[in-house]
Amino acid sequence: MYPIIRLVNRNLTISINPAFLLWQIIFPIIYIFIAGFAYTSLIREVPFGSKDLAYPAFLASGMIGFNIMNSTLVSGIIIWNDRKYGMFEQIMSGPFTRANYILSNICTIGIIGLVSASLIALIGYPVFFDSLDFSIVTVPLIVFAAITGSVLFGSLASIIATKLRSSEGFNVILNTAFLFFAFVSTAFYPAEGAPEPLKTAFYLNPLTYLVDIIRAGIFGNVSEFVLIEMGILAIIATILFIIATKLLTKLDF
C-alpha cells in the first residue's frame, strides 16, 4: 500500500466513529424534514432560474453543501489532535513525508465530503425529486463541488489547527467561523429578497458558491454565473490549500 493510502486508512479510522456518523445523518434530517416543512408556511417557493422550487427542496440541496463543509471539520480535528497527542511527530519520524501527511488529509476530507454529499443527496432525494433535472452535468457538478468544497474548508480548518494550541481557542474559532459560513450563505435561504449588505455578505462566503453549484447540478440551471462561481471556488480552494500546505510544512517539532 502506498504511504498516502495507509495514512488515509488511519485518518478514517480515527475520525469516523458512530457518534460522528449519526450526527452527520441526523442533523441534516432534522433540517430537511422538520425545518424544511415547518418553514414552508413562511417560504412556500423559492425562485431558481426558470423554475420555482419548493422550500424543502431548496433546503435539502443547501444541506448537501452545508454537510460537506461540516464534515471537513475533521481535517482540522485530525491535525490538531495529532499535534496535541504527539502523533504528528511520531508519524513524521516514520516512513512518511510531510507531503504524504498533507495529501492524506486532503484525500480523507475529499472522501468524507463525497460520502457526506451522497448521503444527503439520498436522504433529500424524496423532497427534491419533483424538481430534479438530471443531466450529464449533474454528477460531475456535485463531485466538483464536493471535492473543491472539501479542499477549501478542509484547508481552512487545517490553517486554524496549525495556528492554535489550546483546545478552547481551536473550538471557539472553528465553530464561530463555520457558524458564520453556514448562516451567512444561501444554504438555508435565497439571496434574493435579503437586505443588500447581507446579500453582499452572502457572496463573500464560499459556501454560497458551493451551494449554488450543487443546486445548478441538481435542478439543471448551469448559467454563466455558476461557471464564474466554480472558477472562484477553485481559486479560493487552491490558495487556501497552498497556505495550509506551507503552514504544515513549516510546523516545528
Binding site: 488511519r10 519520524s93 516512513p95
Partner: protein, 312 residues
C-alpha cells in the same frame, strides 16, 4: 561496525547552541546510553538522528545512509519512541497496535501475530479493549513502546522510555530490550535514571550544554572518573570526642545524626582507613559496621556535569 556515525554535528536555534560540534559513533548490536541533565541537548540530538530536524552543520550517517540527504530512507529502517506521549485518544490499545502496524505496511496476518505477542509481552492483555484516553500514564507509555515493535527495524531510538513506569514494569522493559539487542537490534537510549543506564547500556555518552563530555563503557567510565572511593564506619556507641581525635585526618566526615559515623571519601581511602582504624584501636573505640560503597555512575555523572559547569 558502526550504525551511527556523527561528525561535527551542530544545531543552533538563533543564538542558542543546542548541540555543539558532536563527533561520535555507535556500534551495531549494542545499547548506547545517552545521558545528560535537563536541557543538555539529548532530545535535540535524538531529533537530529531521527531526521525530524536538520542540523545546522556537520554530517550524519545512519545505517550506512546519509541521513541529511536521504532522511526518508533512514526512517524506513529505524524505530522511534519519543519522550512526549504519542497516541490516538479514541483508539483501543489493540486497534492502536494494529493500525500502527498497518501504517508501517506490515502484512495483515503478521500484524495480528505481532499484536497478540506484544499484548502479552507488555502486560496489555487485560486492557486491550480500553481506549488510549482512558489509560494511566504508565499504561499509555507501555502501549507507546510496544507499538514500536509492531514493525521491523535495525535501530531503535528510545527517549526516556521508562518515564511513568513502575519499578517492575521498568525492569521488565529493560529486560525485553536486552533480548531484542541480543537478537541483533541496536538501541540508542536516553534516560535520567542512571541505574537504568548502568543496568542496560554497553556504552555511554555523557552530554552537557550540547557537548559530549565522555564516551565509554559504564565500567571504563567508573575506572576513569571514579577514582575516589567511599568507606563508611559506624561506631557501636556515641563518641562525641571522635571529632577531636580525628583532627588532622583529611578526606573524612563525621556525622552524629544516627549514632556516630565516619565517612571516608578519597582517592587513597584505604590509607585514610588505616589511620582512622589505628586511632579507634588506640582509644578502644568499638566499630559496629564498616562498609565500602562502590562508585556508581550517578556520582561520576554528577561530578562531570559539576566540573563542566565550573569550567564554563
Amino acid at each position: 561496525m558502526s550504525c551511527i556515525i556523527i561528525n561535527k554535528l551542530s544545531k543552533n536555534y538563533g543564538h542558542v547552541q543546542a548541540v555543539d560540534d558532536i563527533t561520535m559513533s555507535v556500534k551495531s548490536g549494542q545499547v548506547f546510553g545517552f545521558l545528560g541533565p535537563n536541557g543538555a541537548g539529548k532530545s535535540t540530538t535524538i531529533k537530529l538522528l531521527t531526521t525530524l530536524i536538520q542540523p545546522s552543520e556537520g554530517s550524519l550517517n545512519i545505517l550506512g545512509i546519509d541521513a541529511i540527504k536521504n532522511p526518508l530512507q533512514v526512517r524506513h529502517k529505524i524505530g522511534v519512541v519519543l519522550q512526549q506521549p504519542s497516541y490516538e485518544p479514541t483508539l483501543t490499545v489493540e486497534k492502536s497496535l494494529e493500525k500502527y502496524g498497518m501504517m508501517w505496511n506490515v502484512p495483515k496476518n503478521e500484524r495480528k501475530f505481532r499484536m497478540e505477542q506484544l499484548l502479552k509481552d507488555f502486560d496489555l492483555v487485560d486492557i486491550r479493549k480500553k481506549r488510549n484516553e482512558d489509560l494511566s500514564i504508565g499504561q499509555r507509555r507501555r502501549v507507546q513502546v510496544a507499538r514500536e515493535f509492531m514493525h521491523d527495524m535495525d535501530l531503535l531510538f528510545l527517549d526516556e522510555p521508562t518515564v511513568g513506569l513502575d519499578p517492575s514494569a521498568r525492569r521488565k522493559l529493560l529486560d525485553y530490550l536486552r533480548t531484542k539487542v541480543n537478537s541483533g537490534l541496536t538501541i540508542f537510549f536516553t534516560t535520567h535514571i542512571l541505574t537504568e543506564a548502568e543496568y542496560l547500556c554497553d556504552e555511554i555518552a555523557i552530554i552537557d550544554k550540547g557537548k559530549i563530555l565522555a564516551i565509554d563503557s559504564p565500567n571504563a567510565l567508573k575506572n576513569r572518573f571514579g577514582k575516589d572511593k567511599t568507606i563508611k564506619i559506624h561506631l557501636l556507641k556515641n563518641h562525641p570526642e571522635i571529632a577531636k581525635l580525628l583532627t588532622g585526618i583529611q578526606d573524612c566526615k563525621i556525622d552524629f545524626q544516627t549514632g556516630t559515623s565516619i565517612t571516608i571519601h578519597s582517592e587513597q581511602s584505604e590509607i585514610v582507613l588505616m589511620k582512622i582504624l589505628k586511632i579507634l584501636n588506640d582509644n578502644s573505640i568499638e566499630i559496629d559496621d564498616l562498609s565500602a560503597i562502590p562508585t556508581n555512575l550517578e556520582e561520576i555523572f554528577l561530578k562531570m556535569v559539576e566540573e563542566n559547569v565550573s569550567n564554563n
